[in-house]
Amino acid sequence: MSKRGIVLYLHAHQPYRVRKYSVFDTAVSHDYFDDPDYNCERNNEQVFKKVADKSYRPMNALLEKLLAIHPEFKVSLSITGVFIEQAEKWAPDVLDSFKRMISTGRVEIVAETYYHSLAFFYSMVEFEHQVEAHRNKIRDLFGVETKVFRNTELSYNDSMAKWADEYGFKGILAEGWDPILQWRSPNYVYKPAGTDNIKLLMKNYRLSDDVAFRFGDKNWPDWPLNADTYNSWVNDAITDKEIVNLFMDYETFGEHQWEDTGIFNFYEAFIGKWLENPVNTCYTVSEAIDAFEPVDEISMPYTVTWADTERDLTAWLGNSMQQEALRYIYSMEDDIMRTNDLELIADWRKLQTSDHVYYMCTKWFNDGDVHAYFSPYESPYDAFLYFINVVRDLRWRLYVHHRTGGLNG
């Protein structure tokens, strides 16, 4: 019988933020992603280098250390294509470190869309292209095949599971959301409804979010959380069960939770304590799927994500500005593709990154909770304004290329 184990999965991503691109730039310059002010929070190079120092470098160092001292330590990562592109330019040492980690054979890369997009909900052709582009990039860079899929923001529904099954993935990741699980526990392997071979791993959101969201919160009753306490929580959760899926953003370490909260030391200590007990181990996502048989079938007819208390897509598609922005983008697909202009196609795809519409979210403004609005823009309306100016420039480039059609979409 297989040992019980934790499944650690971390997601690394950085978008190409759009600069303050005004109507006076439209049809004049096409440099959407290069904010001239290096120190502003829209300058992608500056942000990437900052987060590399605060999070990617120290966390990679810690993971390499854990791989070296614990033979049973394993971890799964998803790294978006737009992250890799930026790392190649501004922090190649971070990629070298990932390569060393992967060469141990104990670090698995999870598949996703190259552009961290919501293409699944708009265009299957474009979606599959982005999944394939990501697989190719991972193969070229790290020499490994991806076998397990996760979609942007851990968005998931039955038709996505069916797609992933038919596409040949052996596993897929989703949120372990109570209204779906009901009396069931996320700490098992499941089978998605209506599929043949694929298996489903569901995030244990309580234990994951204790680290990802609550760890440094001094108003949290369990602050400060130490490794012993957390280890006992995980042990309690896994009693008589198989796995605990701890899924979180890579940037949890050092960026969302700063180093001075003690997050790095905590994580190292927790892994040590967990592996001290010989009945415990760590699994990569593929290993967990191979080790256990599904205990039940799970159906999610509606899309569930790992975001907010609603666990839905409202932070990305909840208002009309967000819906229109993506409608404009995806309605250009055919015209963009038949230009065969690689630069134009790449720009169009970078604009599909879900962060752009996230910055247009107004639900916190309407709730009066402006402090919940994390964005490099002054308001959701500014985010939309710059984006729409860029959309018009794309239309202009299409117009110049095809010499047909109007500029109104």
Binding site: V23, S320, M321, F365, N366, S379, F384, I388, N389
Partner: protein, 403 residues
């Protein structure tokens, strides 16, 4: 409470604010004697006693002019002739005398004076009854004078009033910062109480009349977007930058018209500027408007811009939100501290304003989102919250006075 104007008698923003603030204070439990410098009927006011300090009509209260800086006010109060009610300083001297007598008789718990116009009376009242003085700042001479230095005597009166006050209330953090930086007053002494809007008052059976701005309605049918700037045409309001931004926007998107509602000393300059820039046919000047024309100006418009170089608060932005406008504010406008669903720009940044105008005019969803979202927001800003803050300040000061 000491105020130079009070709605509904020929009042500007200060009179409207005083009316609603007093009303909310009365509901919160305050008993108010309100002193105005003129004689008029205040039939609609049954929640406090209104005292008339002179026999002048509301129109005559400023002697020869309003506080637009045109009237030269240079006399010390001691040199003013209390019998010369054609002179602003004469009226103010009479007002001070009246307030002092009233304070002696009524022995108020707190004296609450609005702006420099009544600060001398506030100080006078404090002398005779020893009650704590609250000076409420809606605008300073720095705001009124725009970039130039303003009237030195008014500065002096403001400085003395701010020094003598036991507590200062500012209508925004912008105003608070001016009081700290330009008058050297300690920030600890100043509380910010934002103004609000009385929605009930705006829902008084008003209906929009399409014929008021028939030509603009016709342009809207042709796809034009109407941009409103409703204000006094003075340097403080940043209209030169606004007109330049309008011209810039028109180079990229032609279907914009600009409704400049109001009047003031810059009117001719603005007309010349629009002609120089070649957008005269896109600028509509209404002159001074009130009543229905004033409400309809909001209703005909799609976008409201507050272009002020320095705006302590800016109640018109809330009125515009009520009338379904998308709102654009300068970062130098205090009302921006209570609204989130708006665009902001620095008053000099014409490119940014032009971009924002075109963005709204050319994107239906952006326009609708901003109009709907700001309308949800402004309704939460209530005079009752302002009144409770003021009541707390009153109570704190009485406690200090008693101990």
């Amino acid at each position: 409470m000491l105020g130079w104007e009070l709605w509904p008698n020929n009042s500007g923003g200060l009179g409207v604010a005083c009316y609603h603030m007093s009303k909310a204070l009365a509901i919160a439990g305050a008993t108010i004697d309100f002193v105005v410098p003129y004689t008029a009927e205040h039939d609609v006011i049954d929640y406090m006693d209104v005292h008339c300090a002179t026999k002048l009509s509301p129109l005559e209260r400023n002697g020869l002019g309003a506080y637009d800086g045109k009237t030269v006010i240079e006399k010390e109060l001691s040199k003013a002739d209390v019998n010369n009610l054609k002179d602003m300083r004469g009226v103010q001297k009479r007002y001070v005398q009246y307030v002092k007598r009233l304070a002696k008789v009524t022995q108020p718990d707190v004296i609450h004076a609005h702006d420099w116009l009544t600060m001398e009376a506030g100080m006078g009242a404090k002398e005779v009854c020893d009650a704590p003085l609250i000076v409420h700042v809606h605008a300073t001479e720095f705001d009124r004078s725009g970039s130039d230095s303003g009237n030195p005597l008014i500065h002096e009166i403001e400085y003395q009033g701010l020094m003598m006050a036991d507590r200062i209330v500012a209508v925004s953090n912008i105003t608070k910062n001016i009081i700290v930086e330009k008058y050297g007053i300690s920030a600890d002494k100043i509380e910010v109480v934002h103004n609000a809007i009385d929605i009930v008052n705006l829902n008084d059976g008003y209906y929009y009349d399409f014929s008021t701005y028939r030509y603009l309605e016709a342009l809207k049918n042709e796809g034009y977007t109407v941009v409103l700037n409703l204000t006094r045409f003075t340097i403080q309001k940043g209209l030169v930058n606004f007109v330049k931004a309008a011209a810039k926007a028109c180079t990229k998107f032609d279907k914009l018209v600009f409704l400049l509602a109001g009047d003031g000393e810059q009117r001719d300059e603005l007309i010349r500027l629009a002609a120089d820039l070649g957008i005269s046919d896109k600028i509509f000047m209404t002159g001074f408007i009130r009543g229905k024309q004033w409400r309809d100006a909001y209703s005909v418009s799609d976008i409201f811009v507050m272009s002020s170089v320095s705006e302590p608060f800016g109640l018109t932005a809330l009125e515009a939100a009520h009338h379904d406008n998308a709102v654009i504010l300068t970062k130098q406008s205090g009302v921006g501290e209570v609204l989130n669903s708006v665009f902001r720009y620095d008053f000099w940044d014409e490119d940014v304003l032009a971009d924002q105008l075109i963005g709204i005019a050319t994107s239906y969803v952006l326009k609708k989102s901003m109009q709907e979202d700001v309308k949800k927001e402004y309704g939460r800003i209530s005079w009752h919250d302002a009144a409770w803050k003021l009541m707390r300040i009153y109570n704190d000061m009485q406690r200090v006075a008693l101990s």
